[in-house]
């Protein structure tokens, strides 16, 4: 187990290093002059010279990379081109918002999705199963921005029950969290169903029924217990997608999270903010994936000895 964890952590560190290189290079891989990318198209040659000087763009790339990494490790993500202020405080404010949005979405997906999947599996091929699975496919196919707008239309404009934008407090969170979670909810329900359908046909489940265990016990202890590891993996890997989906949700609901920050920065061509935001989100995803592996380890004892 220790070996597995050590190897997995090493891999994560390597991934982080590669990632930082990629994010750093993205500015330099782009066609044209990075200084022009930073300054915008209207920059004069004189401004470009100043920018090259200021950002150290005249140095060799490896030198620039090491310097950049050194600063990032100290929490210095650079200076925004607009307003001439450090980026880190903005990122630090936005990050927890995006993460809570994604985690909220994940929680809803699990808490609603798993029971729906179990219900569909138990009522296999019946009306309930067909209904739930139909809704799940539809949920997977809905564009986040469309479902968000439809919900605003109904719950905010028509019924006036929930705020249509902003962040803070439970009422403001309900619509965005649901919109972020929908696709994952659908996926969890589908996955739980297909795993449970197979498990319910297994011999040990039949034995459990046969020896007269209460249904609840068979379903949860025998069947669901075995369905959990793959569900945890998929759910964990979904978190990245959730943070990604949050980009659109945050924009629709005007939530001051990382996603909206990044989109605004792209429109303003404020490249350091884009770099910092993407790096932060990717780091979170890698960290979460590592965590998922550890949880998997606890749920599936076989891996510990592999």
């Amino acid at each position: 187990m220790g070996v597995f964890l050590a190897r997995r952590s090493m891999e994560a560190v390597l991934t982080v290093l590669g990632l930082s290189l990629l994010v750093f290079l993205s500015l330099h891989l782009a066609p044209g002059d990075p200084a022009a990318l930073i300054a915008g198209n209207q920059a004069t040659e004189q401004e470009l010279v100043v920018i090259r000087q200021r950002y150290g763009l005249n140095d060799p790339l490896p030198v620039q990379y090491v310097r950049w990494i050194g600063r990032v490790l100290r929490g210095d993500f650079g200076i925004s081109h607009f307003g001439e202020r450090p980026i880190w405080p903005d990122l630090a404010d936005a990050f927890p918002i995006s993460i809570s949005l994604a985690l909220g979405g994940l929680a809803v997906a699990v808490v609603v999705g798993i029971p729906l999947g179990i219900l569909a599996a138990v009522r296999r091929d019946g009306f309930v199963d067909l209904g739930i699975m139909g809704l799940a496919v539809a949920g997977m196919s809905m564009p986040v921005f469309w479902i968000s707008l439809l919900m605003i239309l109904l719950f905010s404009l028509r019924l006036g029950w929930l705020p249509s934008s902003g962040w803070g407090g439970l009422p403001a969170a309900i619509l965005p969290v649901f919109s972020v979670s929908l696709a994952s909810l659908a996926l969890v329900a589908r996955m739980t169903r297909s795993l449970m359908v197979e498990l319910l046909l297994e011999d040990f489940v039949r034995t459990a029924w046969a020896k007269g265990l209460p249904g609840r016990m068979v379903l949860f202890k025998h069947a669901l217990r075995n369905a959990l590891p793959p569900i945890v993996t998929v759910v964990g890997l979904r978190l990245g997608l959730l943070v990604g989906g949050a980009v659109i949700t945050e924009t629709v609901f005007a939530i001051p999270g990382l996603g909206r920050l990044i989109v605004q920065a792209v429109n303003l061509r404020d490249y350091p903010v884009v770099q910092g935001g993407v790096l932060l989100i990717a780091l979170a995803v890698i960290g979460i994936n590592l965590l998922v592996d550890m949880i998997y380890l606890m749920l599936d004892p076989r891996i510990r000895y592999a």
């Binding site: 496919v137 809905m142 707008l149 990245g240 490249y271 990717a282």
Partner: protein
Amino acid sequence: MRWKALLRSRSGALGTGIVVLFVATAALAPLFAPAAPTTQNLRGALRPPGQNGYILGSDELGRDTLSRIIYGSRISLAIGAASVTLGVAFGVPLGVAAGFRGGRLDRVVMRLADILLAIPRILLAIVVVATHGIGLWTLIVAIGFPDVPIFARLVRGSTLTISQMEYITAARGLGSPDYRIMWRHIMPNLIGPVTVQATFSMASAILTAGGLSFLGLGVQPPTPEWGYMLAQARAYMRVAPYLITFPGLALALVVLGINLVGDALRQAYDPRFRGKEA
């Protein structure tokens, strides 16, 4: 291809029907559309569905929503198809080579895939657009590029399994060069999983394209695009909610159709489902 299996299940047939309908609409857009998608008529702005001959209403510039949705299917399907092609064209060879050759190549490719997969798809696309500017080809690259590691990883896994087969050892023993083994003996076995993944990737690509356009980073006006139409419609939500309803419905429908086809294909290719009615 297992076309019969695709049509055997009810949901597979429904999905195929939806996809065929949208492809036909895209191909024959000028025949179906009652008006040109960019013709403005400021006197007929923001008409609800059914009024003044606007079957699905008109937008703030008096453009016919139905025509814009019909022409919009062209751009969405084209971007979806092109970006998935890109993902397959780069991802599959990389995955086969990594799985078959193993060693350092495998480690490097898989590590790169891990890195790219750590960045959520839409963010990766945003980075590409941010550095390369907005444009149709950038958009296709931005959307297709994140598919490369997905296909590479999928194909590598299958290749590892196939490489263990005896007939591969036999082919080697007969002196077939590596490229021939990969092309003749491994690739044909990958058609199933790659087709299934390509279907789901196409659905996701169309959603991502719509999302980017919604954010203003994708298809630019006056080209009619569903995501962009929704972004524009936001400003008129109170007075013209129908502008929100229909473009989103079109997008959701086509993605639903493709997802249903993907489900049916997966069952058709999965030996565990073979022989069973879905």
